[in-house]
């Protein structure tokens, strides 16, 4: 079966229509089927419509994604309560340990992302992986720092990724490889993204899964949950009959 590819982290401003159109057109040419542009606030209806229209014109499926930057655990819970039913994907940028743990164990969080440049604040250890697996959260890796970093900083970044990926594979935490780019020139084809993941310890099949089946599984699972017919996993309303 042909793989469908997804880039769940295109960091472009949804209000900048021209950049949005160019980037989405480029993603289509590269063979992506799903893309996500993150919102860090509640988007207006017009912004969502704008994104949907541009994506549909290019023949690509938009995924609504919220990036949360909570200050503490209460802030995270409030944001999740407010936004969970409005977005297909919820990603939490974890920059302290307590927050990482809370995000990993909360089943409403889909993706865990860690600061790319501050390797001391990457808290994806064995405990975090255990919680993430039970909470159905995936680890998201942005490849942009591989292009922008040089020398010792890139070496440290690669070492961190290798360690985290080994832990994630041991505990069975799904991995998502996203671009995390804000410029068109850093965008790469899906198979090139899979090749990039070879650098930090994934083989080519795992790399391809990280840009196709793993992100798609999350998107489809959440869309099913957000559907009005959904009752529980595996249970959905097929037909409502009045008068019984």
């Amino acid at each position: 079966m042909k793989r469908l590819f997804a880039d769940l982290h295109l960091k472009i401003n949804p209000k900048d229509t021209q950049t949005l159109q160019n980037t989405i057109q480029r993603a289509t040419n590269f063979g992506y089927r799903y893309i996500a542009v993150p919102f860090s606030f509640e988007p207006t209806t017009s912004e969502i419509e704008n994104l949907t229209t541009v994506c549909k014109t290019s023949g690509i499926e938009p995924v609504l994604r919220a990036d949360l930057y909570p200050r503490n655990e209460n802030d995270l819970m409030n944001s999740l309560r407010r936004l969970r039913r409005k977005f297909d994907i919820i990603c939490v940028l974890c920059d302290n340990k307590e927050l990482s743990r809370q995000a990993a164990k909360d089943r409403r969080v889909d993706l865990l992302n860690f600061p790319n440049l501050d390797y001391r604040n990457r808290f994806f250890d064995r405990s975090e992986a255990e919680l993430a697996r039970s909470g159905n959260a995936a680890l998201e890796i942005d490849v942009k720092p591989l292009f922008t970093l040089e020398g010792p900083a890139r070496i440290r970044f690669l070492a961190c990724l290798r360690r985290e990926i080994t832990i994630a594979k041991t505990f069975g935490v799904p991995l998502i490889v996203s671009s995390g780019v804000n410029e068109e020139r850093f965008m790469r084809m899906p198979r090139d993204m899979a090749s990039l993941s070879y650098i930090f310890g994934l083989d080519i099949v795992e790399g391809l899964n990280a840009v196709s089946s793993n992100p798609l599984a999350i998107v489809l699972r959440n869309r099913e949950k957000l559907c009005s017919n959904f009752v529980a996993p595996g249970v959905r309303i097929v037909k409502e009959v009045c008068g019984l």
Partner: protein
């Protein structure tokens, strides 16, 4: 002696202007060397086969064993001859004849 298996890669170069063959190969070698060092680069047996200047499509040869890390290194290229650029792998094949069937 065991025969060395090779792979041919068709690459699309995206940049403003047209680089020379030397500038392009310098960028590719530079990227491989940065990621895997000189020993790693020496294992690739990489060579430029053809460079179509009009559509900026390059064919390079590498050994099968090092294909994965050559592909990773190609994806890491962000500059060619000091200009912002990117290199995309269009096709991979075992023979030049089969590679050219993709175009």
């Amino acid at each position: 002696m065991k025969r060395v298996k090779r792979r041919y890669l068709a690459l699309q170069v995206e940049m403003e202007g047209v680089p020379s063959e030397k500038e392009l190969m310098d960028a590719i070698w530079g990227s491989v060397t940065r990621l895997y060092g000189e020993v790693g680069a020496s294992l690739t047996s990489m060579a430029l086969i053809n460079f179509d200047v009009s559509c900026k499509i390059v064919v390079v040869r590498t050994s099968l064993e090092t294909l994965d890390f050559v592909r990773a290194s190609l994806a890491c290229i962000i500059r060619v001859a000091g200009m912002p650029a990117s290199v995309h792998v269009l096709a991979v094949s075992g023979t030049i004849k089969a590679l050219l069937k993709h175009f």
